[in-house]
Symmetry: C2
């Protein structure tokens, strides 16, 4: 094509022959177009048509020449923005061609060519924003680590040092027996380091430091999670059940040996038929006044204890939860110390142990079943802090209601609902460290001719990993707050703290499950190889959403607590109560919900922490009031209350979630307010903004339904979430480095 006019067709020829999406139909379209150009001579048409014959395609050389011409044109005319501008340039601004813009553009469309993308493939793209974005920390990593660790820095560093030792090299065996023994051996080392008994009273050899105990659980969770759970079963569940439910005589007899792991034990609560509904346990403890004994018995196979950690192999004793029977009367669930094995590990008569076998994860923990066949234990083995049998053989308790006593007992065990979400948090931190560092290094795709791009520069990848990163920071501060509340608890606050613990247990463990899913996918095939750790993190934490209370059940407890608090605050949802509530709520909402506010989209407003908290609070309050009203209405309309609570079960989860969202945001903001160092403050602020806005984005349907925001605002929030991801991306690697997870825990990928 020496005729410059005809050169106008080069871009189209090149695109149809190199694009994988075009078929016969499109070639026909191009041929028609050529035919219809009256300004072309018959010979010219023939020449052009010869380049569009599927049966006689151009040579590779033709295609290469065309490509070179196009690239050259772009280099000479850097401002070109469309395919037609190249067409024009190649024709040397031919006057005829100039008048054909509409039909050329139409042809481009008819061929379905994505002009922008096609054009972009010709440029050397080393300088585009996507390509050049990179890691560049804007704050001091160590300062942030210190802030995260706080007063527990010393114990955290001690635990990190222990798990970084060669003995703690992560286990890769698939042999359950070997793995279980390895985990037991690790626990022994930790016990020898006085880490297991950290929460016990000093007089029984303990460290009397509950705050440190929780930090030990969390830090160990960077390592093997079977170890954490085995550790938690022995020193937390077994030991703390003795400490919380027993009295002095039990402490003196058992605590020291539990803390040193001389006396491995179990926490035998769950039964095959009763997990979440612990009140329905069927194991019996029948008192015999003559022999001063209890007989522990499993009435039928489905009442066996199941999933009990430490039971299958190592446990020598167990805290067993059973219905206390005295003279034929049922006194509800109480706790008893029951021996399972002798010192040599031989299972005792009256005890039958089963093995839960291979599990999805946590295979270093020896979960088992326990059946009791009229196992007789001495009277002193009843853990008698809240109930006992007196000298006359009669039941005694400072708490007369069985129901209330039962929940009081459970309340003392709330520590487990702090340890587990903190362990889940650590697992999320590990997963994000692996995935973010990998995504910063891994390059895939890129502009034609340029180098490939780190996948963390892609928007979807940023959303997948950086929104979870922000949430993980948020949950960190919320769990710090929960721990502080627990450590400083007073009796009046217990209900609130129990609800908060139940709620944050669900919030953190669900968050971890979702985050590790993203991490696995974000690491592609590498994320599937066991050597890269995401496998174990994901499978081990999978059960966190179930044990220590099924999350869905716990969320309903949280919601009931909120409803109860709501009634105290605003009274019966009769017409009076509603007016009262609406008035109370209106005072704060009137400014937030005005026609300007619901459409406000300026950056300062969208990033304003006060706006975030107000929006969270508004959602929390409104959902709560709405659920209360709905239950009332269903019952008024004649539905049985039991059914009414089932009908609103879905809303109950929302009630709990909105409450937890608000607590998490509030505590994140409070923590940031206390930070003095400006760079640290700034990066945390951004994370907090991202957490807040991404949660609003997630719940935007609710905000739109409620008319708290209009579409223009929710759309602006989506953009801002994307922008914040982009802004945080350079700091992302530094932000995971601030978790300061030992190298030995991060697998082979980073």
């Amino acid at each position: 094509m020496t005729n410059t006019k005809l050169q106008a067709f080069i871009p189209l020829f090149y695109l149809v022959w190199s694009d994988d999406l075009l078929t016969k139909k499109e070639f026909a379209t191009l041929q028609q177009f050529i035919h219809s150009q009256d300004w072309l001579s018959t010979e010219e048409k023939q020449e052009l048509l010869s380049k569009t014959s599927i049966s006689n395609p151009p040579s590779r050389q033709d295609i290469t020449d065309w490509k070179n011409k196009i690239e050259q044109t772009i280099q000479e005319h850097t401002a070109v923005k469309s395919i037609f501008e190249i067409v024009l340039a190649l024709s040397q601004n031919d006057a005829t061609i100039q008048n054909l813009e509409t039909s050329f553009v139409q042809l481009e469309n008819d061929l379905g060519i994505l002009g922008e993308e096609a054009l972009s493939n010709f440029r050397t793209k080393s300088e585009t924003l996507t390509v050049t974005h990179h890691t560049d920390a804007n704050f001091d990593v160590q300062k942030l680590t210190s802030l995260l660790d706080g007063e527990q820095a010393t114990i955290i560093n001690k635990v990190k040092a222990v798990i970084s030792q060669p003995e703690f090299r992560l286990e890769t065996t698939t042999d359950i027996n070997f793995y279980r023994q390895k985990v037991y051996y690790w626990c022994k080392i930790l016990a020898d380091e006085n880490l297991g008994n950290m929460a016990y009273p000093k007089q029984y050899g303990g460290g009397e430091n509950i705050a440190d105990y929780f930090s030990i659980m969390e830090t160990l969770s960077y390592h093997d999670l079977s170890l954490v759970i085995k550790f938690g079963v022995q020193f937390g569940l077994w030991g703390m059940s003795v400490q919380s439910l027993g009295t002095e005589k039990h402490y003196a007899k058992y605590l020291k040996d539990i803390g040193s792991l001389k006396l491995p034990g179990c926490f035998a609560m769950t039964e095959t038929h009763h997990g979440s509904n612990v009140k329905g346990l069927e194991t019996t403890a029948t008192y015999d006044h003559e022999t001063q004994t209890f007989t522990i018995h499993t009435p039928h196979p489905k009442a066996q204890k199941e999933y009990i950690g430490n039971a299958a192999l190592h446990g020598q004793m167990a805290t067993v939860f059973a219905k206390l029977m005295i003279a034929g009367q049922d006194y509800g669930v109480n706790a008893f110390i029951v021996p399972l094995r002798d010192e040599n590990g031989v299972v005792l008569k009256g005890i039958t142990i089963g093995d839960c076998g291979h599990k999805m994860g946590l295979n270093g923990v020896d979960n088992g079943t326990i059946r009791f066949d009229n196992m007789v234990i001495p009277k002193e083995n009843m853990l008698d802090r809240f109930a006992s049998v007196n000298e006359e053989g009669a039941f005694e308790s400072p708490i007369p209601s069985d129901n209330r006593r039962f929940f009081t007992m459970l309340g003392t065990l709330v520590g487990g609902r702090i340890g587990i979400p903190r362990s889940a948090l650590a697992a999320a931190k590990t997963g994000l460290t692996i995935a973010i560092k990998y995504s910063d290094q891994r390059r895939q795709f890129g502009p034609e001719g340029g180098s490939e791009v780190p996948i963390l520069n892609y928007r979807m990848h940023q959303r997948r990993l950086l929104i979870p990163l922000a949430k993980t920071y948020a949950v960190h501060f919320a769990l710090q707050y929960l721990t502080q509340r627990f450590l400083k608890k007073t009796e009046t606050e217990m209900q609130e703290i129990e609800a908060l613990a139940a709620g944050l247990k669900s919030y953190s463990t669900w968050s971890t499950t979702a985050i590790l899913q993203e991490c696995r996918e974000a690491c592609g095939g590498k994320g599937y190889l066991s050597e890269n750790r995401i496998d174990a993190l994901k499978n081990d934490t999978e059960i966190y959403t179930t044990f220590e209370g099924d999350n869905t059940v716990l969320m309903q407890l949280v919601a009931k607590n909120r409803l109860s608090e709501f009634r105290k605050a605003f009274g019966e949802m009769g017409s009076f109560g509603i007016i009262n509530y609406v008035y109370e709520n209106a005072k704060s909402v009137i400014a937030e919900k005005n026609p300007i506010a619901i459409r406000k989209t300026d950056e300062a407003h969208l990033l304003d922490s006060e706006f975030h908290l107000q929006a969270f609070e508004h959602r929390e309050k409104t959902i709560l009031a709405s659920a209360a009203k709905r239950i009332k209405k269903l019952v008024d309309d004649g539905l049985d209350a039991y059914d009414a609570f089932n009908v609103v079960q879905h809303q109950m989860i929302d009630v709990a979630e909105a409450y937890l969202d608000r607590v998490v945001l509030e505590q994140f903001q409070i923590a940031i307010a206390a930070v003095k160092e400006p760079d640290t403050k700034q990066v945390l602020n951004r994370l907090c903004q991202l957490y807040a806005l991404s949660q609003i984005e997630k719940n935007k349907a609710w905000y739109l339904e409620d008319n708290y925001m209009e579409a223009v605002k929710t759309k602006a929030i989506r953009k801002m979430v994307n922008q914040l991801c982009w802004d945080i991306r350079p700091d992302a690697v530094a932000l995971v480095n601030a978790f300061a997870i030992p190298e030995s825990c991060l697998g082979e990928l980073v």
Copy 2:
């Protein structure tokens, strides 16, 4: 309390002493209340106050008596609806008490008592809706099974019979070596049954039945997924790559032995540094005209082949994708048959095999790495359907563009993107069968005094399992449609079918990942035990979202295809194009978006299939146009196109999702329209309604932002989703029974 007036306090006393949520503060509230009642004498006040002293609680007998009195009252006055009505009855309708309603109710509120729930705990609830709801199939299960299996019923039943044999007892070993050999042994049996070569031409011993081949893949997926993948690697990837990319000489030489598993082989495409971006592969195949050979070489360690199934142990040959180099010139990626091991399994010189080791799942598949050290192969080993080296040693191809040829080659391999989503579908069916049958049997919690309730009667549980059940049915019909389109494909349709396959691969595999997550949680601790199968289903399918193309990358390909189609239909998004589009769209939307329609909430409308499809189509079209406009605007504003596509990446996923949602709904509706049998039709219709409305609910933020629906309508849809779950629940077990999954594949739980 013989004084009947005082009996009015019994309900409050009982509640404060038995509720686990009340603390000192609430007791003080109750005491204050008693003090403030002027109508009580000092002695009466004393008597009442004596029942509220924490230091001197009532006896167990007191509490039991109170409870009995309350229960008796309720039995005598079945219409009571509030705590106060019991108060009144107990006081024998005392006139003073009658006037105290407001203050008693206020007290109840101040104590935070959830009256409805408290009241419900006193009733015998054997008759509530939640308790009595149960399984009761309303259709003929076998007829539905026949409908699902269709023309492939014979082969499906054959495969089910094979995998139900004792040799196919599911493997529980954690020993990778043993497991890999077992899976190989299973594959051998399947090959002997002529199941592996089902898709190959008859002249090479095959069954020449691609439809049956896909059904074999899907049905095998009820069994062990390692087996499916090993089977798919051998007969699908390895065999079909020879068939699709090779020519007659290769068929004659290899196909029979591949189909009989005499010649185990690999599909060696992915490299460590290049997975999704296959075009960037770095392995080279250098032609030497003198010796008439190619030299296959791995230029650096990160260019090794990775994750290659059949490589670590069994593969004797591989289809290797490598850049063809002739006389120093790069001719793009082409495919070559390269021997790896001799017949005795000894690795050949020039080949280095690595083992990917333990993975999150699919441990019965021997994935490995392959490195080539100047491995020389004869010229005839080039799979030369689309490109070859001629007698003069020059490159030849009917497709001159390397880019286009590469995508044409890949296009012939699209079958994998049908097999995988169908395998994922089967895994979802298995998981749902286990979880739904378990939830129908598993009872937990229930009204006080009544029996416990099957957990599938709880709303949250229904939402967790029945919405996924509806989606699984929807995906079933969509994948049937995809398979039919593929079987009857013409060249013009190939782009559309490739996009559809890429999209449905993502849609189905993501769906399965999410569904199995719900199944695991819905089965609680039981779902965590390996013996119950969800472990394996979840971990084995986890990689489905990554292999055969990372889902996020595939969804962008789908979106680009949609954008390209859009441009063909509506032209350049200049002002003219937009007007044109708005006009086109307005014609159909004008009726749907009128002020009445956007608020319409009557049941007939909400359940109307036409409304569903219109809503899906509207979303699809609008999102697509919006993405096109946005890209155009970003480029017009000066952003580099490469960056512009990154900015809208999030929207691109939405474009693809909305498209796939519409296809899935449309095909579900079309399939139902063809059903004649009324009971089957009805139950499928309900599932389709649930699928449609739950997807709208999921996307309601979009509908609200677009003003296609107002809040009143989205809220009504949420209620209808819940109602449909409730209505489908009695059929749920029958609906999973209709999948007719062999008992031996369902684990120990059901």
